[in-house]
């Protein structure tokens, strides 16, 4: 699966994302999201920093620029993280691509 830096992603309607006490909890809504039915998903720190910027409006390249301005990291690392997270969440049906406005 190839993810373009120009793509825009938002939370899928197949899940409900909640922020509780600083944690992102992703709750499957429709069948087939988790392997087991009582599973929830949380994001690690990196995942949360990226998730907070996936608002259905910003392109991934803008998300990467925003994170680069805020975090010190070697070139390419932030891009790899953003593309890695998006790839994982799209595979899990937790994110969907939307048309850039």
């Amino acid at each position: 699966m190839s993810i373009s830096g120009n793509a825009v992603y938002t939370v899928s309607e197949d899940v409900v994302a909640r922020e509780i006490e600083g944690e992102i909890i992703i709750v499957p809504l429709v069948a087939g999201i988790g392997d087991l039915e009582d599973e929830l998903y949380t994001l690690n720190e990196t995942g949360k920093a990226i998730w907070d910027r996936l608002d259905g409006r910003r392109r991934l390249c803008e998300v990467i620029d925003d994170l680069s301005a805020q975090y010190q990291a070697a070139p390419g690392e932030i891009q790899a993280d953003v593309l890695g997270l998006v790839t994982e969440l799209v595979k899990r049906r937790m994110l969907v691509a939307v048309e850039p406005s």
């Binding site: 006490e21 909890i25 809504l29 069948a31 039915e37 929830l40 949380t42 690690n44 070697a74």
Partner: protein
């Protein structure tokens, strides 16, 4: 950024067994919701049910919007799951609407039902949008005669079977529980064999058998019937011990954590941390406790006020009854005993009177486990720590 090019950015967690919160727990973890007190069964042992057709009860029930409003606040306070119970929750015409609403808030839904009102449409909804908790079905008998001797409704057994078949055919995860009563006491083997073939049953079924009196204290007649249906302590403990070594292992683990005198504070059980909304909007510290001084009116207030002000005050309540002070506050068997303010209220109309039946059950269990000798009382034992350590070794 940390964890550069991490191989996985998400963690799958089982909410029932994993600590989600790194900082502090949310104000509310889970909520019980008694959607109605009405039931399409009229079970002989039930401590709460009202007739299905009780128009006055129906009139007083929370409206759809009121239930949704409470669910919204529960989710905003961090709740991850809600238990829909009753009465029979499927009696509400808006059940599907409320279920979907709860799931869309990101709540897992635990449904307690007798399965009689499950329909192909409802089961289809559970297939598409799973509750994320195993549905729990109470079974009153394995045959029409025994089931309907308990439910006291003609045709209920066929409807129960039909509901179970719908769940099985759709592959929906559910577990069954028994109510151990005179009409079905000879069916335990049949029940457990049948239950063991249900895919989601990963352990033997649990039974209700030490029945509670009416929690609204609304019927001395029904209380007399309930009292007559209570299993003798020895027989009840024998049923609990059927799994043999597995049961003993569980009990030893339990005893290593939960034995010891509770002291004078009445609420040592976590009351109010997973509270229950009754059908009319009163928030109770638990499913059973309906003493007027322990209930908070959500129609005139909010969950957050109840959780942060009302229940913390309630948890400071101390026992005053001399009999309770002499016995229960000093009894190291409290972990084995079902004595609590809710049982005291149902049985005696106050919060701190010992309930003799539960006391006898706990002492019988303790005798069986080797924690007591014949004729001893739990509140007299001084070397209880040594005794607990000895059986846990």
């Amino acid at each position: 950024m940390k964890n550069v090019i991490a191989t996985s950015y998400t963690a799958r967690v089982n909410a029932a067994h994993f600590r989600l919160w790194k900082r502090r727990n949310p104000i509310l973890g889970k909520l019980d919701f008694e959607l109605t007190e009405r039931c399409n069964n009229d079970c002989i042992q039930c401590c709460i049910n009202l007739p299905e057709t009780d128009a006055a009860a129906r009139q007083r029930e929370l409206t759809t919007d009121e239930v949704k409003g409470i669910l919204v606040e529960a989710a905003s306070l961090g709740a991850l799951s809600v238990r829909f119970t009753g009465g029979e929750p499927l009696l509400r015409d808006d059940f599907s609407d409320l279920y979907l609403f709860a799931r869309r808030l990101g709540l897992r839904v635990l449904l307690f039902t007798n399965a009689r009102l499950l329909t192909p449409e409802l089961v289809k909804l559970f297939v598409h949008i799973p509750p994320l908790e195993k549905i729990e079905v109470t079974v009153y008998g394995m045959r029409r005669e025994s089931y309907e001797a308990v439910s006291r409704v003609k045709g209920s057994f066929e409807q129960f079977q039909s509901g179970i078949n719908l769940l099985i055919e759709a592959g929906i995860s559910f577990v069954v529980k028994g109510a151990f009563l005179p009409p079905n006491r000879r069916e335990v083997d049949d029940f457990e064999t049948w239950a063991s073939n249900i895919p989601a049953m990963d352990k033997p079924p649990i039974y209700s058998m030490f029945f509670d009196f009416r929690s609204r204290r609304d019927s001395p007649t029904k209380n007399r019937l309930i009292q007559s249906l209570r299993v003798p302590p020895e027989e009840g403990i024998a049923l609990l011990r059927r799994p043999g070594q597995a049961y003993l292992k569980d009990m030893r683990q339990f005893c290593s954590k939960f034995m010891g005198p509770p002291g004078e504070l009445l609420f040592t059980c976590g009351a109010g941390y997973a509270p229950c909304v009754d059908a009319y909007g009163a928030l109770q510290p638990c499913l059973l406790l309906r003493h007027p001084d322990t209930r908070y009116n959500l129609r005139a207030g909010s969950l957050i006020e109840a959780l942060t002000e009302f229940f913390p005050r309630l948890r400071q309540t101390r026992a005053k009854n001399p009999n309770y002070l002499a016995r229960c506050t000093r009894c190291f068997l409290m972990g084995l005993c079902e004595q609590c303010p809710a049982k005291s209220w149902a049985e005696h109309g106050n919060l701190d009177t010992p309930v003799e039946y539960f006391c006898k059950v706990a002492h019988t269990e303790a005798l069986n486990l080797g924690l007591l000798k014949e004729g001893e009382f739990g509140w007299e034992v001084k070397d209880w720590k040594e005794r607990v350590e000895r059986i846990c070794q």
